[in-house]
C-alpha cells in the first residue's frame, strides 16, 4: 500500500523564500507535515506544552491538540516502542529524543524491532516513523548532551539515517523523512539550531537520500554532515584566502550513503578529508574512507584523511574544544593532504 501522500499546495506560502533558523525550519516542516496528513503524530518528553527543550515543537500541541502532540511518560524505550505500534496501526509517528545521550534506553527497540519488522514480515509491515535526535557538541553542556552516536544506527541494517545542516534542508528533509515508509533517524545539529538561512517553501532542494556539493573547488574535497558542514564551509573560506580551493560536500544521508558525488569530486581533486564529530574508530568517516579508496584508487594523490572526535568519552565541556574538530584541524588535514 502506498504511503499517504502529502498535499502541500494548501500550506504553500505566496512568498516562497523565507529566512529562518534551523530550529524554526524544522518546526515549520513538522507543521506542514501535520497539516498535510492527519496521521502524523509528534511524541516525546516535553514536546507539548513546553514545545520541547529546544522549542522545536513549539506551538504544535496548541494547534493540533494533545492527541497529535503527545507529552509522553519519561521513557525513551516507551517512546520508540509505542511508536512502532502506532506505525503498524497506520500512524506516522515523529519521535523526539530530548538529547542524543538519552536514546540508549530505546536502542533495543530500534535495533530489535524498528530495524527488523519489515524484513521479518516479508514486507507485510512498514514502519513509517521518524526519530528526531538533537546531536553533537559545542554547547557547553553536561554529560550525555553532546555526543554523536549516529554510527551505531548507520551500522544497523533496516534503519535509515540522515542529518540536516541548514534551514532549507531542515525544512524539507524532515517532511521527506516523514513521507518515507522506512524508519528514519533524523539527526539535528543542535549547536546550529539558531543559524539562519533561506528556505524556499515551494520546492525541495534535493531528494532525502542524496548528498550535495555546497561549494565547488579544485584542490581538496571535504566531506561533512550535520554540525561539521558549517565548520567545513568556514575552513573552505579560510583556505581560499591562502589560495587553496576546497570542494565541500554535505553528505545529508548517512545510511544509505550517497557517495557518487564524492567519487566524482575526488577523481578531480585527488584528495579527500572527511570531517565528523563522532569518534573515528569504526565510524561513518571510516566507511567513507574505505569506499573512496576502493572507487577512486587511481585518482588519489594522498590517503583519505579523517578529522573526527577522539575515541574517548565526550569530555567535560571546558575540554570539548580539544575534542571537537574545528576549522584549524580541518585546515591542518588539508595541509597534510596537499603535502603528501
Amino acid at each position: 500500500m502506498a504511503a499517504p501522500t502529502m498535499d502541500r499546495s494548501a500550506s504553500a506560502e505566496p512568498s516562497a523564500v523565507q529566512t529562518m533558523t534551523i530550529a524554526k525550519a524544522i518546526n515549520n516542516g513538522l507543521r506542514a507535515a501535520m497539516e498535510a496528513n492527519p496521521k502524523v503524530l509528534v511524541m516525546g518528553e516535553d514536546v507539548g506544552k513546553l514545545g520541547g527543550v529546544f522549542r522545536i515543537t513549539d506551538g504544535l500541541q496548541k494547534d493540533f491538540g494533545e492527541q497529535r502532540v503527545l507529552d509522553t511518560p519519561l521513557s525513551e524505550s516507551g517512546i520508540i516502542g509505542t511508536a512502532v505500534g502506532l506505525a503498524i496501526r497506520g500512524y506516522r509517528p515523529v519521535c523526539e529524543i530530548q538529547f542524543e545521550g538519552f536514546i540508549f534506553p530505546g536502542f533495543d527497540q530500534l535495533v530489535s524491532q524498528v530495524a527488523k519488522l519489515h524484513y521479518r514480515t516479508q514486507g507485510r509491515l512498514k514502519l513509517p516513523m521518524v526519530i528526531r535526535v538533537p546531536f553533537g557538541g559545542g554547547i557547553g553542556a553536561v554529560e550525555h548532551h553532546s555526543e554523536s552516536p549516529e554510527s551505531y544506527f548507520a551500522h544497523t541494517a533496516g534503519l535509515k539515517v540522515v542529518s540536516c545542516a541548514n534551514p532549507a534542508d531542515a525544512y524539507w528533509m524532515i517532511q521527506q523523512a516523514i513521507d518515507s515508509d522506512d524508519p528514519v533517524l533524523f539527526f539535528e545539529p543542535k549547536r546550529r539550531y539558531y543559524e539562519k538561512g533561506q528556505v524556499d517553501t515551494t520546492a525541495a532542494p534535493a531528494p532525502l537520500f542524496q548528498s550535495r556539493v555546497l561549494r565547488s573547488g579544485t584542490d581538496v574535497t571535504v566531506v561533512a554532515y550535520g554540525p561539521m558542514v558549517r565548520t567545513s564551509l568556514d575552513a573552505a573560506a579560510a583556505a581560499e584566502d591562502e589560495g587553496r580551493s576546497l570542494e565541500v560536500i554535505d553528505l545529508r544521508a548517512l545510511s544509505p550513503l550517497d557517495l557518487a558525488p564524492v567519487y566524482e569530486s575526488v577523481r578531480r581533486t585527488g584528495r579527500l578529508v572527511v570531517v565528523s564529530e563522532a569518534p573515528g574508530e569504526s565510524s561513518i568517516a571510516g566507511e567513507i574512507a574505505a569506499k573512496v579508496q576502493q572507487e577512486c584508487f587511481y585518482s588519489l594523490e594522498a590517503p583519505v584523511l579523517r578529522v573526527t572526535g577522539f575515541d574517548t568519552p565526550y569530555p567535560p565541556s571546558k575540554l570539548e574544544e580539544e575534542f571537537l574538530p574545528d576549522l584549524d584541524r580541518v585546515l591542518h588535514a588539508v595541509d597534510r593532504s596537499l603535502a603528501w
Binding site: E45, D46, G48, K49, L50, G51, V53, D71, T72, P73, L74, S75, S77, G78, G101, F102, F104, P105, G140, A141, V142, E143, H144, H145, E281, F310, D311, T312, P313, P315, P316, S317, K318, L319, E320, E322, F323, D328, R329, H332
Partner: protein, 397 residues
Amino acid sequence: MSSPEKWTQPGPDSPPATAATPTAEQVIAGLRATDEGGADLVQLLTPEGERVEHPDFHLDISGEELRGLYRDMVLVRRADREANALQRKGELGLWVPLLGQEAAQIGAGRALKPNDMAFPSYREHGVAWCRGVRPTEILGMFRGTDNGSWDPVEHRFHPYTIVIGNQVLNAAGYAMGQKFDGKVGDADSEATMVFFGDGATSQGDVHEGFVWAAVYDAPLVFFCQNNQWAISEPTERQSRLPLYQRARGYGFPGIRVDGNDVLATLAVSRWALEECRQGNGPILIEAFTYRMDAHTTSDDPSRYRLSDELEMWKLKDPIERVKVHLVKQQWADQAFFDSVEADAEELAVEMREFCVNLETPPAGRIFSQVYAEGNPVLEAQRDEFLAYHAGFAGGEH
C-alpha cells in the same frame, strides 16, 4: 458478565493525588491535583511547625539534633542558591536546583550510616552534603572541568547519574553485593539507598530495579523524590496511581512521606534502612515534595506551570517549619540563627572563590583514564594530538 467495582475502581482511600486531572476548583485556583499528599502521608512536623504523632513512626529528637538538621538545610539551600547565582553570572554552564527538596534530602541523607551506600541522580546536593561531599566538589561538573570530583568509594556516594533511572539498577546490584557479602542481618550490616525522581519511575531501568531488588531480597531503599514535575510534565503523566503504591505490585512496602518534613523523612528513612539491614528489603519511599525552582537553569517553568502553585508550596517550606518549631520549643535563640546564617555566608564565599579558581585540566587530559588497562590505539591518538597541540603552542601553525 458483571465487573465488580472493586476490581475496576481505585479504592476509596486513594488520596486525591491519584486523580488524573485536577478538580474544577483546583484549576480555578491555579493548582493541580497533587498539592495534597493524601491520607497515607507520613508527617511528624506540620507546615505550621507543630509536632504531630504518627501511629507507625515515632521520633524522639533533641534540640541539638533538630538544630543540626536545620543547619544542614540552611547551608544546603545557601549552597544551592550560590551555585544558581554562579550560573547566572556565567561561572557555571548549568545548575540543577534543589530548592524545596532540602528536607527530603537531609532527612534521607542523615538516616544513612557511614557504611551504607547511596546512589544519587543529579539533584542530590543535600544527600552529597550528608555524605561528606563538599558543595565545592560538585561545581566542577557544572563548570565543565570534570564529571564530579569526589571519591565515590571513600564517601560511599556514587557519581551523579544524568541518564534518567540508570542508577537504580546499579544500586540494586550494589545491594545484591552487600547481601552476597553477608552484610545483612547482623550488627555491622549495611544497606543502600537510591535516589530518583517521579519522572524516572516511567523508565524501564527503574521497574527492572524494583524486580531485581525484590527477587534477591536486596537491602535497597528506593527513595523517590516526587517533586511533582519532570521538566514540564506533571506526575500524572507518569502514573495513575500514587507512586508509593506501585511497590505493592513488586512485593515490597511503599510509603509516602511528607518530603518537606525533615523529621518524617528522617524517621521513615531510618526505619526503612534498618529493615533493609535486617534483611527485610527492599522498600520504596516516596518523598512528596516540590521543585520550587526550575528543572535546571536552562528551564523556564513559567511556560508550563502557574506561579500560584509555587506560592502555595511556599507555605509548606521545609526550613521555615523547623525554624518555627525550634523557636516554639525554645531550642534555639537568635544567636543560633545568626550563627547559621554566618556559616551559610562563609560557605557561599568559599564556593565563589573555589568556582572561579577551578582550573581547566591540561591538554591531553581527555585521553586519560578511558581504560583501566590502557589502549594502544588511543595512546597513539593522544600522542598525535599532543604533537598537533604543541605546534600551536610554538606558533608554528
